[in-house]
Structure formats: C-alpha cells, structure tokens
Symmetry: C2
Subunit: 137 residues, 2 copies
C-alpha cells in the first residue's frame, strides 16, 4: 500500500470561471483524471455562496481533492494514489500538471509525500520533499 | 488561507465492519465530523468488490478522506481544514482522534502539514513534523 500524495498550493490563479463554478471545475478534474489513465469511481463538488468551490474525485487508486478561494486567487489541490498493483506516480503527476496548466497559478508551493510502506519510520524521517517551482517552467 | 492537514497511516486495524462496509464507515465519518463542530457540505463513499472502501466528506472547512484495505488491516486518513475565519485545528484533531479510536490501529504513522500561508517558503522548509505515536497512548 505504498503511495504518493502530491500537495499543491497555487497563488494568483485567475478566478473565472474555474475557481468560481463547481460544474466547470468538476469537468476539468474529471477530464484530467480520465486523460491520465486513473479510474474514477465517484465525485462530489460543492458550490459555496457567494464564491468558492470544494470538490473531490474518488479514484480506484485513492483521491483528488481541490478547494478554491477565488477572492484570493488561491487553490489547494491534493492528488493521492496508492501503488497497490502498479506504480501510479506518473499518472498522478499528469493529473496534477493538467490542473496546474488549466488554473494558471502565478506562484506555487509543492510537496510530495510518500505514504504507507513501513509500519515504523525513523523520527524526523524525510518522508517528503519540498520544491519551489518557477511558474514559468 | 492558512490550514492544517493531518495525515495518518494506520496498520493492524480490525477489518469488520468499518474497513469493509461503506455505509458503516460513512456513518462513522459523518458522526465524527458533526461531533467535532466542523460543517459537512457533502460526502461520497464507494464500496469496492470484493472488499475495501474509499470515501470523502466535504467540509465547509475543506475535507476528510479515508481509504481502507481490509485484507491488510490498513487505512489512510486525511483531515484538512483551512483556518480562514477561525483556527479549526482542534476540531480537525478531534475528528482524527475519533476515527483512530473507532478503527483501533495497532500501529500508526502521523504527519501534520501546514498549508497555505506564505507564497514563498525557504528551500527545505520544515513545513511538516513527523511524529510516531504509541497506539497505547
């Protein structure tokens, strides 16, 4: 049950339409998952009033979660996949990158966390790496 | 949009009924959230065949996600809350602890990740801490 969990904080995203409209964000997320080769088993999105969207796509391989604060141009995204029968890391990265391309953050923070595996890890285990990415990459 | 994200990997959980039955796990998750004082805005759970459950509860404050592998007694859980208008950290911890009490892991791994906040963090920022918890605590 080893897995990889990609976590993004995206700043300076254009608000319209993806940060404000649940249906548009849901369509984007489902399309990104479908095109990655991961398998959708359900989803749920919620439209906040006056603005903001929260949503998840359940995967056979675990989940995608996304939250938007359009008033701040801010988004958090999680893509977590288990590598139960095959290594799904590249597919998770494809979903993450497709969402980032669509949401166009000016600045990003990124972490990738290895999950599962050993029952016991040493204290202060460097289980994640922390990478600052240039939005112009 | 500061927030806290609690991530657990729980080993040695009894399989029946919570790791195998989506309805039972959904009820547990919703009850844990309700009792914490966080606000549910939706949920979606999926029952795998022959076994296993994946599910999310959408919160006004972000989300809860849980995945079970009953054949291995293994569970991963995420509780992520933003602290937009108030500090929801204690409520997130209450959800996490209620689920852990119910699912009875023999061993756990735990990480807490601070999300949002500054646009730029220094390289190798210790954005998370890693704590090994004694299941007998």
């Amino acid at each position: 049950m080893e897995g990889i969990h990609l976590l993004g904080e995206w700043y300076g995203c254009p608000a319209e339409p993806l940060l404000t409209q649940a249906d548009a964000l849901r369509d984007l997320c489902r399309r990104a998952v479908d095109e990655s080769g991961l398998t959708i088993v359900g989803d749920r999105f919620f439209q906040f009033e006056p603005h903001g969207v929260t949503g998840t796509v359940l995967l056979a391989e675990s989940h995608l979660a996304i939250h938007t604060w359009p008033e701040a141009g801010f988004v958090t995204v999680d893509v977590y996949v288990c590598n139960y029968t095959t290594d799904n890391t590249a597919k998770a990265e494809r979903v993450f990158e497709a969402l980032e391309r669509a949401l166009q953050p000016a600045h990003t923070r990124f972490q990738a966390i290895h999950r599962g595996g050993r029952k016991r890890a040493p204290p202060c285990c460097p289980a994640k790496h922390f990478v600052l990415r240039d939005p112009a990459r």
